[in-house]
């Protein structure tokens, strides 16, 4: 497997792992609205990332671009905007109806970014150790 593909697999796995760990920790240590925020925020952003991954891997390859032609842009854009609108509406409903605590939601929404940050740090560490050896 190529190094870059390994990073995506690592980010995906770490993403779900972080989601579970933060949700569990929040459930044990914080009030219900905060833990619900972490859970729902993490779920929204993780599902979003999976759908984005599927859209890009399915559509951004030379064979598909050549075959689909004009419908290519429409296909990606429509899926992208539907995904974005749904997540926006969900976040709006969660905050405007005071279902979750905003700080918990922010922590939950940071799950994907945190896993990418972890992947970057690991790669950097590997790079430094490689150069040291």
């Amino acid at each position: 497997m190529h190094d870059l593909q390994k990073i995506v697999v690592f980010v995906t796995k770490t993403n779900w792992l972080l989601f579970m760990v933060t949700s569990l920790l929040a459930w044990m240590t914080t009030p219900t609205d905060v833990s619900l925020g972490v859970l729902l925020g993490g779920l929204i952003v993780s599902v979003n990332f999976q759908l984005l991954k599927k859209t890009i891997l399915d559509n951004f390859c030379p064979e598909v671009v050549a075959v689909k032609g004009g419908s290519f842009v429409g296909n990606i854009l429509v899926k992208y905007y539907i995904r974005f609108v749904i997540s926006g509406v969900l976040i709006f409903l969660l905050i405007s109806n005071h279902i979750v605590h905003p700080l918990g939601l922010l922590v939950g929404l940071s799950v994907v970014v945190a896993s990418m940050f972890l992947a970057t740090m690991l790669e950097l560490t590997r790079l430094f150790f490689k150069e040291a050896v």
């Binding site: 593909q5 990332f49 984005l52 951004f60 390859c61 671009v65 905050i95 922010l106 970014v113 990418m116």
Partner: protein, 89 residues
């Protein structure tokens, strides 16, 4: 009252500026990726992965801005008191 108006202005500006920046960033990223794939189709796999990570990072920034603007509008800690004061007048 000024506080409410300020909150609405801040929320609008927050999501507006964030969407502007993220839109430009994603557009540049996608344009670069499409150029790269069309010039060198063999590199499509590498470009896809980099693009996926980049788009997810940019998109999360826009989602943060959306959350901040929604907090300013609906869940600001000082908003309840201000609304009560405005309603009393």
């Amino acid at each position: 009252m000024e506080f409410l108006v300020g909150s609405v202005w801040a929320a609008g500006l927050a999501i507006g500026i964030a969407a502007f920046g993220c839109g430009i960033g994603q557009g540049l990223g996608l344009a670069g990726a499409m150029n790269g794939i069309s010039r060198n189709p063999e590199a499509a796999g590498k470009i896809q992965v980099n693009m996926l990570i980049g788009l997810a990072m940019i998109e999360s920034l826009c989602i943060y801005a959306l959350v901040v603007s929604l907090i300013l509008l609906y869940a600001h800690p000082a908003l309840k008191g201000t609304i009560a004061v405005v309603a009393a007048h």
